[in-house]
Amino acid sequence: MSKPDEARVEEKLYQNRYVVDGGRSHIRVVAHDKPSANLLAMTTLCPAGCYTLSEAGQVEVAPDGCFECGTCRVMCESGGEVEWNYPRGGYGVLFKFG
């Protein structure tokens, strides 16, 4: 969580209600050696800051706090870079106001 921006998202996400579905991540980044432009863009574009660049230069996703907004699907699914699904019924973000 190096970027100051990152820490602020972390603080914002704490306010939200999120039911973790242990061990079942609903979004998966397809293995790649060099991330495409669209996949790289997700490291700034994701509103919940779920996409990060690992030291080895790969883009990783940790979909805790994900809003299921679909932005990464719109950007990366057609290019086959991301496998996107909704979490199991009742899991994931649950908006208190919406």
């Binding site: 509103p47 719109v74 057609s78 909704y86 009742g90 908006f95």
Partner: protein
């Protein structure tokens, strides 16, 4: 033995609840699937609710629907770094017996709407995610498979009210998934303040409400819009831009939101507030040209999943409710005539949309998305700066003769866009608005 219903509604947002309510009221057997814990737990919106469309569905909704404030003032702002130029329209006429526009909180409102759907007789299954559509040998949709064990269920027709992503429809090849330049990513926060503070800061009382919608440099040159909506005890503060612009700009949505909140015109409105939720969602922005095929054998698509959103006027929930209603009416007519849910029979639904304001408005602004999108730097950077500078020069009284001030303003516009640019923009804007 697989259960069979007259219709299955996938999704419990505005369009889904509208369709399920009318279908159940008409006496059809309706199964509604909602993946969230309750209807509203997965829905995000600014959120403004248009009364006329809801009255057509639940005439006496004002008696028990959870409404935040009825709107009496609309502020359009063009903002640059430190200023905003605003056009405000406020009228006491909006304090009418049946106000026209309300602000709502989606999770409370949808919960209420869903109770009405249940009371109407529909079966509502929450915490159940629809995974895929099921087709028969002839390619007609006959049901849905869900993520619960033994989760296959059949129906004569499936109403796809699954929201902007439209996973089921695109996975079944009924339409293409949304493209980056056809959807906007909006992020918003709920800022809690005592009701009196909101009322004094916006100069309203009781449950009168104000809406601020702003364009300008706040979206960093991207096609976008910021907003502040007044609810009873909180302000919805948000900003959204086209996903394609966002991706290219390298800006973060939360960074843009923080900058918008820090703007001198916004900061004092939210001073001392307590943020209780941060949310994000996609808004269909493609307009008329992005609306997909609306029905087929055994299925119809409604609401955001059908990209039915008038971005220029920021009207989404009214189109969603209306499309849900029209789809339900079409299905009921077919059912009462004991006809088949074929594509032709179901085409009553798209026809009704075309004859209504829904498609008329969308057609009217069909070129607007492209125009704003291709000239986003001009409309969202150059002009806001020019207007702000013009107002600044116009208002600052420093003894320069008025004629000189006006000349200075016009030369600034000419230098920035040149005559052809200015006339070109004006002509394109007028044509797209016609």
């Amino acid at each position: 033995m697989v259960e069979k219903f007259d219709c299955i509604v996938v999704g419990a947002g505005m369009s889904g609840n509208a369709a399920a309510y009318i279908l159940a009221k008409r006496g059809l057997s309706v199964l509604q699937l909602e993946r969230g814990e309750y209807s509203g737990s997965k829905n995000v919106q600014g959120a403004i609710m248009y009364a006329d469309m809801l009255e057509a569905i639940i005439p006496d909704f004002r008696e028990d629907a959870p409404l935040e404030r009825h709107l009496i003032e609309q502020r359009f702002w063009m903002m640059n770094g430190a200023a905003h130029t605003g056009m405000h329209y406020r009228s006491d006429a909006f304090n009418e017996a049946k106000p026209n526009r309300y602000t709502i909180l989606r999770s409370q409102f949808d919960k209420w709407f869903s109770r009405k759907v249940r009371e109407a007789g529909a079966l509502v299954l929450t915490e159940t995610t629809a995974l895929e559509l099921i087709f028969d040998a002839y390619g007609a949709c006959v049901g849905v498979r869900t993520d619960r064990e033994g989760g296959i269920v059949h129906a004569d027709v499936v109403v796809l009210a699954e929201g902007v992503n439209g996973l089921l429809g695109s996975r079944a090849g009924l339409r293409a998934p949304p493209k980056p330049d056809h959807v906007a990513l909006a992020v918003k926060e709920m800022h809690f303040l005592p009701a009196e503070t909101i009322e004094s800061r916006f100069n309203v009382h009781g449950d009168e409400g104000v809406v601020i919608e702003a364009v300008g440099t706040i979206s960093g040159g991207m096609t976008g819009m910021g907003f502040v909506y007044t609810n009873k005890e909180c302000l919805s503060v948000g900003i959204g831009c086209l996903v394609s612009d966002f991706a290219r700009s390298g800006q973060t949505p939360h960074g843009l939101l923080e900058a918008f909140k820090a703007h001198p015109s916004i900061k004092p409105l939210i001073e001392g507030s307590e943020v209780k939720e941060y949310a994000a969602h996609l808004i269909p922005e493609g307009g008329y040209k992005a609306v997909p095929q609306l029905c087929g054998d055994g299925w119809v698509v409604v609401g955001d999943a059908a990209q039915l959103n008038n971005a220029i006027h920021r009207e989404g929930s009214n189109l969603a409710m209306t499309s849900g209603r029209f789809a339900a009416e079409a299905i009921f007519q077919i059912k009462s005539r004991r006809e088949k849910m074929t594509k032709d029979n179901l085409s009553r639904y798209p026809k009704a949309l075309h004859d209504s304001f829904v498609m008329k408005d969308l057609r009217k602004y069909r070129d607007m998305p492209a125009l704003l999108h291709t000239n986003s730097r001009n409309f969202f950077l150059t002009y806001p700066e020019l207007v702000a500078k013009a107002m600044e020069n116009f208002l600052r009284v420093d003894g320069t003769p008025k004629r000189e001030t006006e000349a200075k303003i016009f030369s600034a516009f000419r230098k920035a866009r040149g005559f052809t640019g200015l006339f070109g923009d004006a002509f394109k804007l007028a044509r797209a608005w016609r």
